[in-house]
Symmetry: C2
Subunit: 305 residues, 2 copies
Amino acid sequence: MNKITAEFLRVVSDFKGSFQGAFNIRENGECAGRQSSKNIKIDTKKDLPGIDIHIQPGTLGETVYIPACVTHTGVDDLVYNDFFVGAGADVVIVAGCGVHNDGEGEARHNGIHRFFLEKGAHVVYREKHLANGSGAGAKRIDPVTEVHLAEDACLEMDTVQLGGVDSTLRKTTAELDARARLLVRERIMTDGAEVAKTDFEVTLTGEDSGVDLISRSVAKGTSHQEFLSCIRGRNRCSGHSECDAILVGNGTVTASPALEASHIDAALIHEAAIGKIAGEQILKLQTLGLSEEEAEQQIISGFLK
Amino acid sequence: MNKITAEFLRVVSDFKGSFQGAFNIRENGECAGRQSSKNIKIDTKKDLPGIDIHIQPGTLGETVYIPACVTHTGVDDLVYNDFFVGAGADVVIVAGCGVHNDGEGEARHNGIHRFFLEKGAHVVYREKHLANGSGAGAKRIDPVTEVHLAEDACLEMDTVQLGGVDSTLRKTTAELDARARLLVRERIMTDGAEVAKTDFEVTLTGEDSGVDLISRSVAKGTSHQEFLSCIRGRNRCSGHSECDAILVGNGTVTASPALEASHIDAALIHEAAIGKIAGEQILKLQTLGLSEEEAEQQIISGFLK
């Protein structure tokens, strides 16, 4: 694995020279390291680029790392990763992605992740995206996530885009069986002329299923962000989505959340707010000795935490 | 004017045998009565079916009535009404619509209203929609409303669909200049197999312009309602929209509100909630002696008030 990858891994997936337990490191479309554990088997897909991750039923407390990096221009990495999580398992999946581009061509990572959680499985999924490099070529990360939650399964998605990604299109679809839960915490920061679009489609099929979707974004420079969501309640269920955005400079944001209730016992709620940081918040921190820029930075950090 | 029209006028536009001041009654595509006042002139359009309503600058405290009725099957009434409201005027416009259909064919009223409010004008616009009749033919009311608010102008739209309308498509667009205000209170009740779609597009162009859009709906039977809105903030401005829906029986509701902020000082907020009446609310009223149906009816009346 090259130096750029090693540095990315440190930031996006808590890499400290080695991983404990199961992991797969993808670098410029190839495998730069892999290890299965007793309970977590990682296999190369036979028909497509990518891996199958099989987590044994009842696996408890293990973490699997599957970071992916693109470290030079001209790479368009497309990968299919499938997670099969056995009944009653309770694990953490860390799936960071870094894209570095010093050249003129585009560098892109396009990860297509499918999650199949069996009855009562619980997964915490953490994903950090970061891009850097001195080239004029675009750095793109376009994740597609497909979630299938069986009865009583729970997926907690915690996703962050740290910066430097010129363009991202994030598409997440989920279908929930009875009593399944999906919790999403998404934070996206854009600056310069960056563009970010995020699109959630959640179908609450099972009785007493529920989703809680919170998206926070900061659009600086002349960047533009679009938030789309659609929560469909087709049974007795609860759905909540919240989209908060802070504008800085000439950043612009569009939020288009939709709720579809087609069952008398579907309870769906949405909230959205877009605006700049309130002047009095800045002022308050200035009276504590911070400069205007420091105050703004501190408020944004807190908002995206 | 026929008896059905007279009865509609009583319900949708507070008709008590006569109108005070300016009015125009439209019945099955024709004029069934008109009166201008000193300050409010109503003229037949030269190029299209419909009327031009000119309200003199500074007109205060007057009400103009422009009800429209369709009283039999096979009528497809299309009408263009333009309101030119002079600077500083402060008036009320009452624009109810009734559709009666005892036959097999469709009966439809399609009113295209344009509002041009000059500087500082203030208009309260009240619109009630109602349909009835024993025929199998559809009763449709499809209003199109276009609003232009000059500096400091204010339009308060208070619209209600009372019931019996098989299908409605309500399209409202508005553009606001500096310090202009648009306040919308919309209430729609559907039952049986009725379908209602309402679509708002509000562009906040002027500095310190603002919109407050509140839509409440009750979907009973197997009826379906769709709420769409888009608030565009293109200057220092404030926008708030709220969409609350109550489901009864097998009614279904979709809410798709969008916010577009393209100015650092645009502050936009949206809230939506869809669900059935909470069980404890019904229970509370039952302990006061109401039946379950009476309790539900009382809660819905309060919600749509």
